[in-house]
């Protein structure tokens, strides 16, 4: 795509809008955004948060102008302060196209800023390209089931980039002597941030850093060959495997629904484990599905899993037709028992 943005009719004035992490650094998503911007040509950089100007120095060095808001009130993720900072940075920059990483912090604040600026916004962007003389943002619709492109004429246009969609380049320390312009913004927030906590499910929550995503389907709670259900065995097989393999645990919606409605089924599963549908679409390198029938919405949650295997009793289930790399037609109760023994 390169310089075409600058040559086209639009002549977009691009701003990369970042925030610092709790430790004052720029996160991976921010660096992904910077490398995307660098591929587009010239841009301005704006950073909000604690140590914003220090972070600006660590950023990749092709920004033409750098704006910062760095007062203490902007150190914590909070909609009122973050949206005010974003609004001021965008307004000051005069940008027509704003690229920002899709962190939880910006996802909360940037739509608010867009509304106040009279601008427009698109989120979860996984691509950005020039078609004819217009820019098009690529994103998913209907929970990752339909992919589409969006074109707009409003301005400023804030495009929130989906983490993981672009490659982050390692930051090269800034060589140029561009002065960082610090902006002052008075705020009086009504919200205090008290910190973060781990969810009750602890290590079993979907963890993006694990190499393997293990998904337990509703089949674990079904009556087995003997006509009985075996909840305790199912829970033991699943939890043992998660513990021993250090994998991330996901689940299908039907199983999560069963587990959260007061039934003694698999109480350690919560909606935070849900993959697909209203759940997450994790991006693990490998995924192992057990006792999941391959219905379409469930498979949606696997779209970004690179290597997929499934253990399932039905050789004709949806997994068998182009969704998994390998489908083992076998009883997951037996396979996982053996696998857990091997992991000792």
């Amino acid at each position: 795509m390169d310089q075409r943005l600058m040559q086209g009719k639009h002549m977009e004035k691009i701003l990369v809008l970042l925030h610092t992490e709790a430790d004052g650094s720029l996160g991976r998503a921010a660096r992904e955004c910077l490398s995307l911007a660098a591929s587009l040509g010239k841009y301005d950089l704006a950073i909000s948060g604690a140590d914003a100007s220090a972070a600006a120095n660590s950023a990749e060095g092709s920004a033409e102008r750098i704006l910062c808001i760095a007062a203490d009130e902007f150190a914590v993720p909070r909609s009122s302060t973050d949206s005010a900072a974003a609004e001021m940075l965008i307004r000051t920059s005069g940008a027509t196209l704003v690229l920002a990483p899709g962190t939880s912090r910006w996802s909360r604040a940037l739509p608010m800023a867009a509304a106040r600026l009279g601008g427009v916004i698109d989120t979860h962007a996984v691509g950005l390209e020039v078609v004819g003389d217009s820019i098009q943002v690529k994103r998913w619709f209907y929970r990752q089931r339909i992919e589409g492109t969006v074109a707009r004429s409003g301005s400023p246009w804030i495009v929130v980039i989906e983490p993981g969609a672009f490659t982050a380049t390692e930051a090269t320390p800034r060589q140029a002597t561009i002065e960082t312009q610090s902006l002052e913004l008075a705020v009086s927030p009504r919200t205090t941030v008290e910190g973060t906590i781990s969810t009750a499910a602890g290590e079993q929550t979907i963890r993006p850093d694990a190499a393997l995503l293990f998904v337990a389907g509703a089949g674990w709670t079904k009556k087995q060959k003997d006509g009985q259900v075996h909840f305790a065995d199912a829970a033991d097989r699943i939890q043992t495997f998660v513990h021993k393999s250090k994998c991330s645990l996901g689940s299908s919606k039907s199983l999560v629904d069963l587990s959260s409605e007061g039934e003694a089924v698999l109480p350690f599963l919560t909606h935070l484990h849900q993959v697909g549908q209203t759940g997450s679409t994790p991006r693990h390198r490998k995924g192992l599905a057990t006792c999941c029938h391959g219905e379409e919405p469930h498979v949606v949650g696997w779209r970004f899993i690179n290597e997929r295997r499934a253990v399932n009793l039905d050789p004709n289930c949806g997994w068998a037709r182009g969704k998994a790399d390998v489908l083992y037609v076998a009883d997951a109760f037996e396979v996982m028992k053996e696998l857990n023994a091997l992991l000792d």
């Binding site: 009556k223 379409e296 004709n316 289930c317």
Partner: protein, 603 residues
Amino acid sequence: MSIETEAGNDVNGVDAKPLDADIVCVGFGPASAGFLTTLTKLLQAPSTDQPVESRAVPGMPPQILCYERADDIAFGVSGVVTRARAIKSTFPYLNTAEIPLSARVGSERLLYLLDPHGASRRPLWMRLADKVIKGLAREDYSYEAPYIPPFLHKQDGFIFSLGQFMQWSGQQVMFSGTAQVWPGTPVSDPLFENGKVAGVVLAADGTEIRAELTVVGDGPVGPVGRRLDEVYGMPLGHKRDEWAVGMKMVVDLPASCTLEEGTVFHTIGYPEPEIFGFFYVHPDRVASVGIFVPSWLDSPVRTGYRYLQHFITHPAIWRHLKGGRMRSWGAKSLLESGRRGEPRLCGDGYARIGEGSGSTNVLTGSGVDEAWLTGRLLAEGVHELWREGLPFTKANLEARYVRRRRTSWLEKESIIAERARNGFQRGILRGFLGMALAGFTSGALGYNRRRDKPARPLEEFYRGRLSAEQVRDIRAACEKDAQPLHDALMEAAGWPAIEFDGQLLVSHQDALLMGGKVQAAPDLPDHVVFRDPDLCAACTNRLCIEICSGEAIHAGENGAPVFDRDKCVHCGACIWNCTQEVAPGVSNVAFCAAPGGLHSAEN
């Protein structure tokens, strides 16, 4: 606006008091739709008379409620090609463009399908006849009948998707503001008081809906209708003992298909001589295709899904479908006893309409329009009684509803059809002959009904094709793998294996997911219960497993049936296929009211 005053119910808690209404309808199928549409129109028609007032809540307009078991009003199943005489009389200017998937019937053909595999059970005379027909038949193993008997034709009628038609009519009823239709709300029982029906009980929490009139339109396997039959008994000589499973797919036709919108095929002869098939072309290159597996197909391993796959892969059908894609799938039980299955049509506080009231015409193969008519006739009677300030007693309902029904075309045609299917008890030839006799003599001639035959043992059924040892081995292997018997037995008897293509030929379980989108509420008990497990354990004829439209009943320990409600499509076939009885006339399968099942709105 405060919620307390507007909603009449404080957000702080729910109130489980009985609810008072004037009319409560059970089930929203074509009969209830006909009833509610007609009643709504009558109540809203300009009139110089005083408007009808609620008797349950004086000062208000009539309170009319309808409770539907399925999770949406559009989740019904039928292969509807209909002359739509009753529907057209309700909507004289019906525009098919308003109702998705509906079309006017264009060309209509009756196809006799030869068996390309030689695997179906054809009697000798039929095999001989097939040899003759083969000379006349097309390359695709079909022979087009030169003419369609008048009693079968559907010219000037419509092809519908029942789901879309119900959705369309339900929306009109709701937007009239006169009646409320509540999906996802199964009714468990009628409410009896002093020998009368005083309303219904909802399955979810036992809430009583008290109403002066209960309109029972919950179909042939609905729990309210069945309970009324238990309590009041059937009229003398009436019995519900002829059934079929109707199973269909809605298919996106391949680009190669040249059939025009409105094309209708009726088929006979294949996959078994007793199985009738249909193929209707909707607008936008979509078709409905399906079969009826009747109770007089006396196979102890009768199955709907496997036969449906053989039907669609018959060369005469497959040439149109190959390369197509399944959009939807569904199944239901059809009560085929016709007039002989008619229950007591009314009593104090209740009236029966629709298929459960014996309205389906087994000669013309038509039920939706007939059901609609029963609803319309009841609505006309009810409106009269309201206007005249008369109560909904048995006598008044007899005079205003049943009498209307007895003088309608429905009754006349029901009488013609009454003996039309009896011949099938004596074999295929006499079955077809019986239909022809009834059809061409307006019911003057026909076979009388024989006494019921007990189900044949497997070994006897397959005699001449499979040895007793083969049957025994297959039975043992299937029992070991907890699989139903029909696939293994059919393949041993010469039926080719189905090669899945992932589009149209898919596993039964994928049909549930891709086509029927079958779902069950997670927090409810099983709605199919085997009353006496010992009877199941001792049963050697587990037809419930074989016929189950969703593989929801499967073999568990020692082959005894186990129920998985997540797969149930609520077709109710297990009720009439159970061969065990806990009491005379009471099968070992208890089929209770429950939401869930199919989530496709296209069937």
